[in-house]
């Protein structure tokens, strides 16, 4: 058991920090459209060139390095489908390089990256299908921090032989858990800085115990979700993946409500960065639940309760 990054992981994270400082972050997201951003192909290109999108070899069981990189991207509010590429694509039998979307069988509604994807993965109970190119799509107006589209017809695609749909869903859960963790961290860190600066009654509002306790609970929720997600990325078991996502979803409830509450009216302005992360939490939670409610699924994975 070792909770510290090794030298190689640290080197990757340092290089990532530099790259993300230049090509991601709140100002980049605002440039792309803020809470209704465009897909960031430039970010994908920079990450690809630097070799950061192929950290988990095809079929690998341990995708911890990829998860650490995705966490950094998510904290920096990257606006592309890197989590699928880093964590889900290694479970597909063919390489999928460009922007991608992932949908559950029969889903006809809005989907993240639906209008930008070069490829769509469709997951059913029994198989995984890949559509390249995807069906035509329309961009959907959404203000939850992601580019969203809707396909004009059901995704057919061709069956990927030997690909286990349960495994794909499992890694999708890890990917979403890591993305949620990144947004939780952004929102909590920003709010901690806000309550230190914001003074009322001649003192920072962060010195009031009511505010401190709420933020401490944000930290507990975020830390729990973070370590469960990293553990799941390393051990690669479906139950660990689902448990991590379930806890991440629970954490979204705590962090969304409290960070907005303590940010006062600033928290519902466009100009303040909080919504860039918190609205994403709502979208990620909805996507998580589209593949089975995580807490319920996690319980059913351990016990025969039906």
């Amino acid at each position: 058991m070792d909770f510290f990054v090794n030298d190689d992981q640290q080197a990757v994270l340092d290089a990532m920090g530099t790259l993300l400082g230049r090509h991601a972050g709140p100002s980049r997201l605002r440039h792309l459209g803020g809470d209704q951003p465009a897909y960031d192909r430039d970010l994908d290109k920079h990450l690809e060139t630097a070799g950061f999108l192929d950290l988990a070899p095809a079929g690998s069981r341990n995708r911890l390095d990829a998860a650490l990189v995705q966490e950094a991207i998510s904290v920096a509010l990257g606006s592309s489908a890197t989590s699928y590429r880093l964590l889900v694509a290694p479970s597909l039998s063919v390489p999928v390089m460009g922007p991608m979307a992932i949908v559950a069988d029969g889903h006809r509604g809005p989907v993240r990256f639906g209008a930008d994807a070069d490829a769509v993965v469709m997951v059913s109970e029994t198989d995984v299908r890949l559509a390249v190119p995807p069906p035509t799509s329309d961009r959907t107006k959404s203000r939850l921090g992601w580019p969203v589209g809707r396909f004009s017809s059901a995704v057919q695609g061709s069956k990927l032989d030997g690909v286990d749909p349960q495994e794909v869903v499992s890694w999708l859960r890890v990917a979403l858990a890591v993305e949620i963790v990144g947004a939780l961290r952004f929102a909590t860190d920003l709010t901690v800085r806000f309550v230190m600066d914001r003074k009322q009654f001649d003192r920072p509002i962060g010195s009031f115990q009511a505010v401190q306790h709420g933020l401490a609970e944000c930290a507990i929720a975020t830390e729990g979700a973070r370590w469960l997600a990293l553990e799941a990325a390393e051990i690669g078991s479906p139950e660990a993946a689902c448990t991590a996502l379930a806890h991440a979803v629970e954490a979204t409830r705590v962090v969304f409500a409290r960070t907005h509450q303590y940010s006062g009216a600033m928290g519902f302005t466009q100009e303040y960065d909080l919504h860039l992360a918190t609205m994403r939490l709502v979208a990620l939670r909805a996507e998580a639940e589209a593949f089975g409610r995580p807490a319920t699924t996690s319980a059913l994975q351990r016990w025969a309760l039906a």
Partner: protein, 380 residues
């Protein structure tokens, strides 16, 4: 970074599980049993002796005192497996985990010779005289007074919420020896033999189970000066160090996870339907236990590396409290009207979870420390 167990710890867990499967059934009432009943306290003495025979009661102690200087990870395995079975060590738990180590660190050779062998053999019960009627969370405000008279201290004051005070042979007692000093500076630790003239013990019935608390009233109780542990007036540092050995304290999450398991098994055995709401509550409780587990492991990793204690310990403790409460919620959802039966799993867990956020440091104090140490927020 990696999250697997070393082979030696896996092997140790396997060996321990075989021993527990062999020993516990028929003797111990398991996680749903009531800690502190006379029967269980008696059994815990026998059980601790069996552990001692195998070197598993004080494996983390120095070899000179009968330990094998085991790693914090081995200790974590031991704690998890025993807590998930309702902690059959009973009161021995605090002896071996911090009272003993505190005597190792600060005891005179005579104190070590007298007190350590019985603790290492598992046949003695200690209680901790910390809280007072007016000093709980603000422990440093304690007022129980010890004044020197010749080669003895004369102790006057009241201690409260003292678990096992009614059966203990010794008390690890915090007293004020210098009332004029700054409040953290005038405190000392005394090792008090029990019973002793002038010490009256009254039981306070609890709602947590059969486990009751005690009030210890000291009236001119005479304690030899030689029974002071560590330097006089520096007891606050001694006790802080003692409590820091564990960092996260009892692995409550392991017991909570086990209770959840048992509640589900019992519900299924009884043929009671577990509806969607209960399944969701079970999932939420399970994931909370898992989060507490991984957060505890992070603290054990810090301990194993001899890193200083950090707010990660407070985060882990608070996560355990949350897990205990959510497991109680899940048990209530599973049990339905069965909660009406005293001693049912839901009734039991509800009572247990009441104490989780209070015993060994309140939840709110953990949140205060997380705010200050982890988030860097100013003191209010």
């Amino acid at each position: 970074m990696e999250f697997g167990w070393d082979k030696e710890h896996v092997a140790y867990r396997d060996e321990l599980l075989l021993f527990l499967e062999d020993e516990l059934p028929g003797h111990w009432h398991g996680a749903a049993a009531v800690l502190g009943s006379e029967e269980n306290t008696a059994y815990s003495r026998r059980f601790a002796g069996l552990l001692a025979e195998r070197g598993w009661l004080t494996p983390h102690w120095l070899a000179a005192h009968g330990g094998v200087e085991a790693s914090p990870w081995m200790l974590a395995v031991l704690g998890e497996e025993l807590w998930s079975r309702g902690e059959p060590r009973g009161p021995q738990y605090m002896n071996v985990n911090w009272i003993g180590p505190s005597i190792v660190a600060h005891g005179t050779p005579e104190q070590q010779e007298r007190y350590l062998p019985p603790i290492a053999a598992g046949n003695v019960v200690w209680c901790q005289g910390f809280s007072e009627p007016d000093s709980g969370t603000d422990l440093a405000s304690l007022r129980t007074r010890a004044e020197i008279d010749g080669d003895e201290y004369v102790v006057n004051g009241t201690k409260i919420w003292t678990s096992y005070g009614d059966v203990a042979e010794h008390c690890y007692l915090l007293v004020r020896t210098d009332p004029d000093a700054e409040r953290h500076r005038g405190i000392s630790v005394l090792l008090v033999d029990m019973p002793t003239p002038g010490l009256e013990i009254a039981t306070i019935p609890g709602v947590v189970g059969e486990h009751s608390f005690n009030e210890l009233v000291f009236t001119d109780v005479r304690v030899p000066v030689a029974n002071g542990l560590g330097p006089e007036n520096e007891g606050w540092a001694v006790v802080r160090e003692a409590l820091s050995y564990e960092r996260v304290g009892s692995p409550r999450w392991a017991r909570a996870a086990y209770v959840l398991d048992e509640a589900i098994a019992a519900g299924l055995d009884d043929g009671r339907p577990i509806d969607d709401v209960a399944v969701q509550a079970i999932g939420v409780a399970k994931t909370a236990c898992e989060a507490a587990r991984i957060l505890c492991y992070r603290v054990i990793d810090e301990r194993a590396r001899n890193l200083p204690s950090s707010a990660n310990a407070n985060i882990a403790r608070a996560a355990m409290v949350q897990a205990e409460r959510l497991v109680a919620e899940a048990c209530l959802a599973i049990d339905g009207l069965e909660v009406l039966v005293y001693g049912s799993r839901s009734d039991h867990q509800l009572r247990k979870s009441l104490a989780a956020g209070v015993a060994a440091g309140t939840y709110e104090v953990q949140l205060n420390l997380i705010s200050r140490l982890h988030l860097g927020l100013p003191k209010g």
